[in-house]
């Protein structure tokens, strides 16, 4: 519930061109998994959302796309901000969400709780934005698959134990499965379901 203390901050100052710029970064991120893409747009995100997370939702979400947020964000300024700017419904059931934002370190919900689509409509799956402590400095994972020439490495940090096992299990559902966007600050890494994860220690 928005109260007098909850002031909703501004969204895009130039919606047409800023959303176009942000979308091209998202398209590049998901078509070339593992590349760190920057969303260099001056929008002040609400508390609890990284700038890249906020920009991605501002660009993609609207009244057609239910969003799942952790309860603490849903009832806080982030929920109010998304309701106002996107007109999106905030849902409690992760399986109903078109977009979801999770904290990479929190143990719940598991990736399997979100909608993986079905074999005839795998495009109906949830896109999960995972907010990380950083996009470097963590355990190094090697990625292979469409969009990657040979292989590439990423090392996001601040992810819960077992997170990469969940990602591998999600990849095993291909062509079903959720698509991931790892975000921190103004940067993001796309990790679609088509990407295979190899661990290198």
């Amino acid at each position: 519930m928005a109260t007098n203390e909850t002031l909703i901050g501004a969204g895009f100052s130039d919606p047409v061109f800023q959303s176009q710029t942000a979308f091209r970064a998202l398209l590049a991120a998901l078509s070339e998994p593992g590349q760190v893409c920057e969303l260099a747009i001056a929008v002040e995100p609400p508390a609890g959302l990284a700038r890249a997370t906020a920009l991605a939702l501002l660009t993609l979400a609207d009244y057609e796309t239910p969003i799942w947020l952790p309860a603490s964000l849903r009832d806080g300024p982030a929920g109010a901000w998304l309701r106002f700017h996107c007109g999106a419904t905030l849902v409690e059931d992760p399986a109903r969400a078109a977009f979801a934002v999770i904290d990479g370190a929190s143990p719940e919900p598991k990736l399997a709780a979100f909608n993986p689509g079905d074999d005839q409509f795998p495009d109906r799956s949830t896109t999960v934005i995972v907010q990380c402590a950083a996009l470097a400095g963590g355990e190094t994972m090697t990625l292979e698959g469409p969009g990657i020439a040979g292989s590439c490495a990423i090392a996001p940090s601040g992810l819960r134990p077992g997170f990469w096992d969940e990602v591998a299990a999600n990849g095993a559902l291909y062509p079903c499965g959720v698509d991931l966007i790892l975000s921190h600050g103004a940067h993001l890494i796309g990790l679609p379901r088509s990407t295979q994860i190899q661990e290198t220690r």
Binding site: F23, L30, S31, D62, D119, D123, P146, Y174
Partner: protein
Amino acid sequence: MNTHLNVGEDTKPAYNYAYLDEQTKRMIRRALLKAVAIPGYQVPFGSREMPLARGWGTGGIQVTAAIIGPEDRLKVIDQGADDTTNAVSIRRFFERTADARTTEATDEATIIQTRHRIPEAPLKAGQIMVYQVPQPEPLRKLEPHEAETRKMHAWGEYGLMQVKLYENIARFGEVTTTYDYPVMVNGRYVMAPSPIPKFDNPKMQMSPALQLFGAGREKRIYAVPPHTSVRSLDFEDHPFRIQSWEQPCGLCGAADSYLDEVVIDDQGGRMFVCSDSHHCETRRAEGHRGAMLADASALHLVEDEAKS
């Protein structure tokens, strides 16, 4: 129709940048991201009425409109040529509605919207190909029901397609499909590459460019990300082959490009010329001369760079 005015001028624009409203763009953008995540899978989308007839590239136009921005340079080709009706009118559409910077040079373009060809010049990382697709469903001629083809894709049940190719070989000794030749994308989905000649199919394999496909009438969007496996369907004993010609391009002498046959008189005379007009012009500017360039130049059909 009022033309679009530059943003920043005092007058209000007649309609939104790049014609489509922002909600439509968001819907198309979401479909594009899912298409990229599932290479070769056809994502349904809410195709809009466009100010030209369906079948004239409305799918490709909607995809281009959803991705284009002021930083882009747009090239539009129709059967390889920059100067044919469809290419000229679509290029003008984006010049008017999106103030698009356009080009005919393949290597300068960031977005290349195409009808039925892939340029001869190799594509680069960062470029986006947008294909206009009349029939996105490769299985449609074999199975008319969408409910059935959807199950066939869901279960990877592509035996029917292999049987069709086999029957072709049994009857004619080779696969007679020469355009829209079905491909297997990322080892999972059989995909229609749009009606490009099979000559162009190998260019899709592990291409460094992002390839997006829009079918406006059929309301489908699909994609092939860069560096993705795109294999033309074939058999071990009948491997996939591309077309070849006995003579090179009559204007520029290229022996490795896709050639169009042009009838030049009523005596049975004909010539073969590059279908990619920019490729042919570039080669002529570099001094390559085909056997019929002098004749064509004398008739003022083309400019002969060596003489001018």
